[in-house]
């Protein structure tokens, strides 16, 4: 069956992030002026307004810890009805604590979830040419 959940829309501001995800890699937008990372990426730096932006690969070995989470027992979007409960987390990256990334933790029993729990990025191949960054317990 084809993938039923929403697929990330690529836009002029986020395309490099999702293109990298498709090849199972994390890239982040970085401001060349104030050197902050911008996540999610945008048309300008959210800290200083600079439009001098570049993309920096973080590789494919990404770890972090759960900063916060919710566990949903009913679907709020199409495609999630067959995948309940849905664990939605905010992950703080180990090597860049200012960067927080939203995702799901796959295959984790909800009762094991805890703020601070270590996780590792993985990529879910959702269509022939698209992949979604996700998390598993580290």
């Amino acid at each position: 069956m084809s993938y039923q959940k929403p697929i990330p829309l690529k836009t002029q501001d986020n395309q490099p992030y999702w293109d990298a995800a498709d090849r199972h890699e994390l890239v982040l937008q970085k401001c060349d002026t104030c050197h902050s990372y911008n996540h999610p990426p945008g048309p300008a730096c959210a800290k200083c307004g600079s439009t001098e932006l570049s993309w920096e690969s973080q590789g494919s070995d990404i770890t972090g810890s759960i900063y916060s989470y919710v566990v949903s027992y009913r679907p709020f979007l199409p495609g999630f009805q067959d995948d309940l409960p849905t664990i939605i987390v905010v992950v703080q990256l180990d090597h860049l604590p200012d960067v927080k990334i939203i995702g799901n933790v796959l295959g984790c029993p909800p009762e094991e979830l805890k703020i601070g729990m270590p996780v590792k990025m993985t990529w879910q191949d959702i269509t022939e040419d698209r992949a979604l960054p996700q998390w598993i317990q580290a």
Binding site: P8, P40, V70, Y73, F76, P78, K100, I102
Partner: protein, 387 residues
């Protein structure tokens, strides 16, 4: 800059019937609410020269309402917005009156919030959501499609950091449901909630159960704002605006970039400064309650309990009648009804006017109240009112 302290007042409030299926249009509901507010104020429709509304594209326009009300306003405005829009539009109205554009403004929210466009998530077009919200592509694909999840991510972190428990969320619900038992017009009138029942209720989306989510209803509310001078000609007892903070934001439109700040944190200091009061001076509150936790987070932001002590504050019964801060005394959006906050504004106006005097609904001797709006963690406004 001119201070507006005590120079403007809310002079009329009114509502339509409240139901789950109105069988009519938002325009009809808005007309009922507007006529009730005019009657409350003792004003004629032609005396309204400004009309404003907020909606999520689920209402009628201000011009339509004015047309069928028989008002011929000099100014109409319809904005996109939910929570905290009432406070913002009141502040806008004051600005317009101050510069001589208009004299008396009617502000309304009309919605078939249960039978028509629902706010609780579900049914929205997913690509629209990804485009409409900043960084939408970074959470919609993960199933975060409604406020319960969006705000829940703040709640889980905040609860862990400050020691707030599920039971503390329950105290907010139980307190507000208790208020609803004195309000025959509340949806949950006749349906009290015990802590035991609350704790047995399964999560819809952890940390929230169905009791922690607000209601959805079909209804319209309206309020009328004018100058203190003009208020003297009205039939009602004016409720003066001591201070108002229209609309503050957090640092990023994609507000999950910082789960540790909410806009209410930035509203509070300047609000108290403008009003010239402190949290200790406030005797009654309407705290925006789209979710139980949102009340707890705002009690902290507005200084009613220190960070880490908010749970104890609500567990001690302080939100109930006779507590330190009777809050959402008509039942709030958790148990009365839901008009993106305006029903809570109506209630605090009635409390401060002592409309319930002689009944068990009246907060004894309340002279000063706070009314807060919460669009989300990202956007908030609030006002302090007196009689």
């Amino acid at each position: 800059m001119a201070t507006i302290k005590d120079r403007y007042a809310i002079v009329g409030v009114g509502e339509s019937e409240r139901s789950k299926n109105s069988g009519t249009t938002p325009l009809h509901l808005a007309l009922d609410a507007a006529r009730a507010a005019l009657k409350d104020a003792g004003l004629e429709a032609r005396e309204i020269d400004g009309v404003m509304s907020y909606s999520e594209n689920d209402s009628c326009t201000s011009h339509q309402l004015a047309t069928y009300l028989g008002a011929r306003p000099k100014y109409v405005k319809d904005i996109m917005g939910g929570g905290s829009s009432t406070e913002m539009l009141i502040a806008d109205a004051i600005g317009l009156i101050e510069t001589g554009q208009v004299n008396t403004v009617l502000i309304y929210r009309a919605m078939n919030g249960r039978s028509g466009v629902r706010m609780g998530g579900g049914g929205w077009d997913v690509n629209m959501l990804q485009g409409a919200m900043d960084g939408g592509s970074f959470f919609i694909p993960y199933g975060a499609g409604g406020p319960g999840q969006w705000f829940g991510l703040f709640a889980t972190r905040h609860m862990q950091q400050t020691g707030i428990t599920q039971e503390h969320l329950g105290h907010v619900c139980v307190s507000f449901y208790e208020h609803a038992q004195r309000n025959p017009k509340a949806f949950f009138y006749g349906k009290p909630l015990t802590m035991e029942e609350y704790l047995k209720t399964p999560h819809l989306s952890y940390p929230f159960t169905k009791h922690d989510f607000c209601l959805e209803s079909d209804e319209a509310n309206a309020i009328i704002v004018t100058s203190a001078e003009k208020a003297k000609d009205c039939k009602s007892k004016p409720v003066y605006i001591m201070g108002i903070e229209a609309r503050r934001t957090v640092s990023h439109a994609h507000y999950w970039t910082n789960l540790d700040e909410v806009a209410s944190d930035f509203v509070a200091p300047s609000l108290y400064k403008k009003a010239g009061v402190t949290p200790q001076d406030i005797q009654v509150a309407s705290i925006y309650d789209c979710f139980s936790w949102v009340v707890l987070r705002q009690l902290e932001a507005y200084g009613f309990a220190a960070r880490g002590e908010v749970g104890d504050f609500v567990a001690s019964g302080n939100l109930k009648m006779g507590g330190k801060l009777p809050t959402n005394t008509a039942g709030g959006m958790l148990s009365e009804g839901y008009t993106h906050g305006m029903n809570n504004v109506l209630e605090i106006v009635r409390q401060i006017r002592h409309d319930y005097k002689g009944t068990d609904r009246q907060v004894e001797n309340c002279e000063i109240g706070i009314c807060t709006g919460w669009s989300g963690p990202d956007i908030a406004g609030a006002m302090i009112l007196r009689n």
